[in-house]
């Protein structure tokens, strides 16, 4: 029977209260959101915090709000809320693509976007999504608020730049015209982590060229999850199957997957290639059909 080591528990009543509790209990305290990464680790005694600060009552961190050129998402927004949100899918179909494949419906009822990003597991799907959408993260600490770009959030696997006395409060995705996005993942069965997955976001220019692009890959050992050379190859070009193939070829070359029970290194490189092509094709197709439907 797996039982966590003993700890003390406090339930935060507001964001300030949560920060105060973290300050009071110091380095040995941890925030608990959905608990679907932290509790399994505590049950295995991989994590043994002395204090758990429960932030689940902070309804001020649950919002999904369109605000000018940004979509602002509270750190406590659950996977299920992101999956079912029409405003999210309207601007960022990549989020629904990814959420459909994250864990299973039960886990999605509890797990949060903030917990996913702070867990910093290299196979976390929402990390790639946030890289591709060039998210900005709002972090609150005892000295106020700071905003960091997604590429500065993760310091390495399971390590983030959110300090022990800080809380991630909001994720912001920039809304851009003539843009769309897509995610696709290969998993062995429902609820499994990615064997490999890819996400892309594209902005088309007035002449139909790919004006801007972001390509990310999950679970294949790509630095910062971003396929830089693939992006450079695609940017400024007219979309075509040959172009997607070139981006895929470069992604397969640049990633650094490890063979494991989910697949061999060669298979994962093959997936990096194929999935990169697919997400580019889908994202570009989505921009075009949006443009078409708006006349």
């Amino acid at each position: 029977m797996q039982i966590p080591a003993a700890f003390e528990y406090a339930r935060a009543e507001s964001l300030d209260h949560a920060l105060q509790l973290l300050a009071e209990h110091g380095e040995e305290s941890r925030v608990i959101a959905g608990g679907h990464s932290l509790l399994p680790m505590m049950k295995l005694r991989i994590a043994s915090p002395e204090w758990l600060i429960d932030i689940n009552d902070l309804s001020e961190l649950e919002h999904i709000t369109e605000d000018g050129d940004w979509l602002r998402v509270g750190a406590l927004a659950r996977h299920v809320s992101l999956l079912e949100s029409d405003v999210v899918v309207g601007h960022f179909p990549i989020v629904r693509d990814a959420e459909k494949t994250i864990a299973d419906p039960l886990v999605r009822n509890r797990g949060t976007i903030g917990g996913s990003l702070c867990q910093a597991d290299p196979a976390e799907d929402l990390s790639t999504v946030c890289h591709v959408l060039r998210a900005e993260l709002v972090i609150r600490g005892p000295n106020g608020e700071r905003t960091v770009p997604m590429k500065e959030l993760h310091r390495g696997p399971y390590e983030t730049s959110v300090e022990p006395n800080e809380i991630l409060t909001e994720i912001r995705w920039p809304i851009r015209a003539r843009s769309s996005s897509a995610y696709t993942k290969v998993e062995r069965r429902v609820g499994d982590w990615a064997t490999a997955a890819a996400g892309a976001s594209v902005t088309l220019g007035a002449q139909g060229q790919i004006e801007d692009v972001a390509i990310g890959l999950t679970a294949v050992g790509l630095d910062g999850s971003t396929a830089t050379r693939s992006q450079d190859a695609v940017r400024g070009q007219q979309p075509s199957e040959d172009l997607y193939a070139e981006a895929g070829r470069l992604a397969a070359e640049d990633c650094n997957p490890m063979g494991d029970q989910r697949g061999t290194e060669a298979y994962k490189r093959h997936l990096a290639d194929e999935l990169t092509r697919r997400v580019l094709r889908t994202a570009v197709g989505r921009v075009m059909s949006n443009a078409g439907s708006r006349g």
Partner: protein
Amino acid sequence: MQITMTVNGDSVSREVEARVLLVHFLRDVLGLTGTHWGCDTSNCGLCTVLMDGQPVKSCTVLAVMASGHDIRTVEGLASGGTLDPVQQGFMEEHGLQCGFCTPGMMLTARALLDKNPDPSEEVIREAISGQICRCTGYATIVRSIQWAAAHPAGSSQAETPAADPASTDTAEVSV
């Protein structure tokens, strides 16, 4: 620490250690052993209960986190001596063999039908996709949920009186 929650409509207060998981609180402290417990690693869904109407894995929720919330277990499905249509459906359509996954499956089904009274087969399969059944191959579970959708509470066919466990067994064998 002292926690208070609603379990199957009744308010319960107990003193528990912070590390007690909801599944063990329900089974060992409250004696509600209808909630099963399988993998212990958040994978199998056997321990599913409803928290504020949503299915969750009770092995991955602390009892202290459930304090102040509304919990429903399989013991709370039948009401006033009447089986929930979902329970009736599992009897009618052979939704179980060993019964290990059944409480969790039925609770997920209840939550699904509360949200979507007429789900497609695809939606049903998606809803139960986080729960493992080693016996049925899922086909009869899907049919059981479809039966429940077709016989909502209040409709005449669902008004079968709750039988005691012994005669429930007979009812199943006799179909």
